[in-house]
Symmetry: C2
Subunit: 152 residues, 2 copies
C-alpha cells in the first residue's frame, strides 16, 4: 500500500535529540500524559533509541517550518518463530490537532509499515480502539485478536 | 497477583545458548512454524537477546530433568509518554502439550508480569485470541482494545 503524498514542505524523518522543544513532546500530549520531561531525560531517551536503532525506529512528520506535527514509533522484535523472524510493533501514533485532514496518520502508518518491511519483518501489529479500527483497516490492517492490558 | 507454585523440581529461568536441543524450539512449535534453525542461528539470536537484556527477557520453565517445557518473552519498550515510562510486551507464550494442567501458562504470565514490574513498566500488553481471553483475565489482564495485524 502506497502512502498519500506529504503536503508541500512536510517531511518524514527520525526523531533527533534536537527535537526537545520542536513539537515532539507537545504532539504526544494528544495521546496521553507525558509528564514533565527535562532536556537531559529527553536526550537520554533519544540516545537509547539511537543506540538500539535496529530495534527502535522513532519517527516524525515535520511541517514546512521544520516543526514536528505527527509522531510514530516502530519497535522491531527479533523472535525465534518463523525462522528467527522479526515482528514490528507500531506504537504511539499521534497527529497534532491542528493538522487533522492532511492524511498524516495514514502516511505515518504506511511509512512505518514500509520501514518494518525493509527491516525484514514478516508482520506488523498494533493496538487500537474500536473507534479507530476503520482507519487502520484503510491502512491495510486487519482485526485478528484481542489486545489485553494490565496496569502496574 | 501471585503465581501458583511450580511443580516439584520445575524452575523459571532465562533462556540460554545451551538450550538449542533442550526443548525451547520444540515447545515453540505448539504456537506456529519455527522453520529450520541451525545451532549458529540459535546462538546468534540468544546472543542478541542477551546483549539487549534490558529490552529482551526470554524466559522458560524447565521440568525436573532440566528440559524446557514452557516459554515466554517479555520485551521492555522505553517510551516518552508517562514521564519516559516503559511498557512490557508479552509474546510467544507456549506450553508443551504433555504439560497441560500444571498451570505453567499462568505461572509464565504472572512471572513475566512481575519481571515487567521490576523493570519499571507502568503496564504490560499482549495479544490473544477470543478463545484465550478468559485465561488472561484470570491472570489479571483486561480486554481494552483491538489487536490489528498486517502480514508482509
Amino acid at each position: 500500500m502506497s502512502a498519500p503524498p506529504l503536503p508541500e514542505g512536510y517531511a518524514f524523518r527520525a526523531v533527533q535529540k534536537s527535537d526537545y522543544t520542536n513539537g515532539y513532546i507537545e504532539t504526544l500530549k494528544v495521546l496521553t500524559t507525558t509528564g514533565d520531561i527535562s532536556e537531559a531525560q529527553f536526550h537520554n531517551l533519544v540516545q537509547h533509541w539511537e543506540t538500539h536503532s535496529h530495534i527502535y525506529k522513532a519517527r516524525a512528520i515535520t511541517d514546512a517550518s521544520g516543526k514536528i506535527v505527527a509522531t510514530g514509533m516502530l519497535v522491531v522484535e527479533k523472535k525465534l518463530i518463523h525462522s528467527c523472524g522479526s515482528v514490528g510493533h507500531i506504537e504511539d501514533i499521534a497527529v497534532a490537532k491542528d493538522q487533522q485532514g492532511k492524511q498524516l496518520g495514514r502516511i505515518l502508518i504506511v511509512s512505518l509499515t514500509a520501514l518494518a518491511r525493509d527491516a525484514g519483518c514478516y508482520k506488523v501489529i498494533l493496538d487500537c480502539s474500536e473507534h479507530n479500527k476503520p482507519f487502520y483497516e484503510k491502512c491495510g490492517y486487519k482485526h485478528e485478536s484481542c489486545a489485553m492490558v494490565v496496569r502496574l
